[in-house]
């Protein structure tokens, strides 16, 4: 029988969720007595394909991780068995984050080279956070972005249709299913099918029936009748098990016979644009819900194979639906399953003060030093961001806020609804061309004079050193 701890990540082993080299370096820092303060910047170098923006998400998870990050008995026993040294392990046993974290609030739109998170701490502490922080921020941001794109297509071409995350089964494990449900809500979804995510995050849960319900009864009629008898006006009936059009007619017949104003029908296969029109016509003709001023009668729900590209085409082709249930495409961010987020050392203590640092690298620049990101708004629209040095000042709104100061959490966590509202405001203020779901325009990011100069100076210094 498998070990009951099998594969779960919990506060018991969370601190081990790091790459071996972080621990190797940390032991090295301790044993060489080399423990400067350092600043690490978490950012991405380029947007995933077809993305004009990224919706930042995951900060709440990061905070939860920092709060839970202790090396308990189980972690210590493992590290001892792996041959790490006693002095180092003693230090880990006392691990308690004492540094500063600045970050962009969840729901903010962000762009390449802008820090999502900056950590300034003794290098021993800051080094440990790399793997976990990238892991906790990258995926939620991808899903929040995917969700925001779908919501934005509906905002621009639709009719306020509902969006529900139906993708837990195809997510990359349970944690991905949980994070995706939360990130989808941030991105503008109305809820999730995932009951565990509903419980953990307070997100509404939705769901009706699968084909197995229909098939488990001798006939489709009996399946519909049984469901309506249990769920009454909450029922959504799945109508495509045998024939979508006939199934829709049967669903309405059952609803009428029972006198129940059902929520609607769900289509799951075939030519969804055409079938949605036919099903909508049948549903509209049904004599239920029509004389009830409180609603518009039964709806048509389309759960399968939905992403932002499908939604745009479906709406453009005159498809008729009350709601959608994106699944796999959402929870795997299937056309962009990876974000090249990195966590780079940008400053290190020298002679008592933090000094900007950089490496030379073919074809890519990591801007040195602690950062500022300022967003310039004109006439209710974002026009550009300025990436600068921390405390450099300038026009616009600073995006990075204090989260930890000297190890103390100083950030008031917004509610998930507040985060969702922020995302809505942020996306709406982006230029239309940046919001396109294919070949979006590039949002302008300026590098401040101060940062430009610093980068050039450090580059010249490094080239000169290597040339020595």
């Amino acid at each position: 029988m498998p070990d009951p701890t099998f594969g779960y990540v919990t506060p018991e082993n969370l601190a081990l969720f790091t790459d071996r080299y972080e621990l190797t370096m940390m032991q090295g820092y301790v044993e060489t007595g080399h423990e400067p303060a350092a600043t690490f910047s978490l950012f991405f170098r380029k947007l995933p394909p077809d993305r004009g923006y990224l919706v930042a998400a995951g900060l709440e998870q990061i905070i939860a991780c920092v709060e839970d990050l202790t090396f308990g008995q189980r972690a210590i026993a493992h590290l001892e068995a792996q041959g790490f040294h006693e002095g180092f392990i003693d230090r880990l046993a006392g691990f308690d984050f004492s540094g500063d974290v600045r970050a962009v609030p969840e729901g903010t739109v962000v762009f390449p080279n802008e820090p999502l998170v900056e950590v300034t701490a003794p290098i021993f502490e800051a080094q440990l956070l790399e793997t976990l922080f990238i892991n906790q921020v990258g995926f939620p941001s991808l899903v929040a972005t995917k969700a925001a794109r779908m919501r934005d297509v509906i905002d621009r071409a639709g009719d306020g249709q509902s969006l529900v995350d139906f993708g837990s089964r195809r997510a990359h494990g349970t944690d991905a299913g949980m994070k995706a449900a939360r990130a989808a809500y941030v991105g503008g979804f109305d809820g999730t099918s995932n009951e565990a995510a509903a419980e953990a995050f307070g997100v509404p849960a939705y769901g009706t029936m699968a084909h197995s319900w229909i098939q488990s009864f001798p006939t489709e009629r009996e399946a519909f009748e049984a469901f309506v008898d249990v769920y009454g006006e909450e029922s959504i009936l799945l109508v495509d098990t045998y024939d979508t059009v006939e199934g829709t007619a049967l669903a309405m017949a059952v609803a009428e016979e029972r006198g129940v104003d059902v929520v609607g029908v769900r289509l799951d296969s075939g030519d969804l644009v055409e079938l949605s029109k036919e099903a909508s016509a049948i549903v509209e003709d049904a004599s239920i819900g029509a004389d009830d001023g409180a609603d518009d009668g039964p709806g048509v729900f389309v759960p399968s194979g939905v992403d932002e590209y499908f939604l745009a085409e479906f709406l453009a082709a005159g498809g008729v639906a009350t709601g959608f249930g994106p699944g796999t495409s959402l929870t795997t961010s299937d056309d962009a399953p990876k974000l090249d987020a990195v966590y780079k050392l940008v400053a290190v203590q020298q002679d008592g003060a933090l000094a900007p640092s950089m490496k030379l690298s073919a074809g890519k620049v990591t801007y040195p030093g602690e950062k500022s990101v300022r967003r310039i708004e004109e006439g209710g629209e974002y026009v550009r961001d300025v990436l600068g040095r921390r405390r450099e000042g300038g026009p616009g709104r600073e995006l990075l806020v204090d989260v930890y100061r000297d190890g103390e959490l100083v950030y008031d966590l917004p509610s998930l609804d507040d985060v969702r509202d922020r995302r809505a405001r942020e996306v709406r203020r982006l230029p239309e061309a940046v919001r396109e779901i294919e070949e979006p325009s590039t949002y302008p990011i300026e590098v401040s004079d101060g940062l430009e100069r610093l980068t050039r100076e450090l580059q010249e210094e490094l080239v000169a050193q290597v040339g020595d």
Copy 2:
């Protein structure tokens, strides 16, 4: 401060990791007294792009889930608050899986329409497992496959180079990082950088240093010296922070001065084929390790941006490396991040016996009834599989084995090394053309006469019913 239970999936909330509709249907089954036994089959309809086979993985996780699947206080409180009914919740509180599970052992290669798992149980129980089972099997199988493809490229064109999973940071959450590390090992990797996965699964952990180590010291030389002083002959030095070729020379100089036979150097950027050749030449010329019969002197490690396509090109172009560290491409299965695995009702109890069931669906067939999968081998090579009805018999080896019988675990879990060996044997027996990493040939899957006939009969019956 976030709730300490924030987002973790543990045995406390695992049973809630399901789609709302599963619970809705289960409540419906209870309240209508409709509780036949049923068989559900977990399979995929088509292979991901460029895949000629899939390596099955995740069965051990499935077993761990079944063992942990209980509705405790936390889950019950949530379901009460969501308005589920008392009688149903009482049933959940006593949930204890009582059915049968048959499955393909981990490490087996599988093909479209072949069940990876079949569950026969009271429909109330079998329905609950859908979301979790698909979630637990799909992703590990994708990663095991990706890993197996990389290992196979090296087996066919390489020199036994090591492969280590370096991708936890880009995995979709912590669970994905854990599952990917395990699946990579199944697929033929030598280990992982993920310390938590090493602890949970007993997989070797590897890792050396990041650029932050180098940058945190005033000079690259001081960084190398400090590392070698701590780690001696275990050292792998990262040489591309400023200039890869000069960095390699410096690393060897430091190793020689200290008289330490380091493991090697690590390249991380630039033209890796050319740089690997130059670095290898420098490393070979170094006067360390040469007269030590026990090893071949320092190696060259290439960790970044590696996938099976890169490996094939790198080796074809004469790149020289001792080991590789695939990351993002592995842990997100980036060119194929989704498997269209489904869990379909294929039989339902009628008049006391299980009767095969199917639905009509445009463009796709779900074969009805409990299955058999038989693999035919000739001259040490797999030549075809036969998908048939359970107990139909026929030539070849049956792939589906008993895992649970009447709720009892009857399967002896193999060690992870045994699973890894199985994968090696299985992949090696596939026709070469099926193993190609681009445009592989289709492995032949026959449908048995018995299953063909049953499918036709049920289709005709359903068409006749719909026509009524």
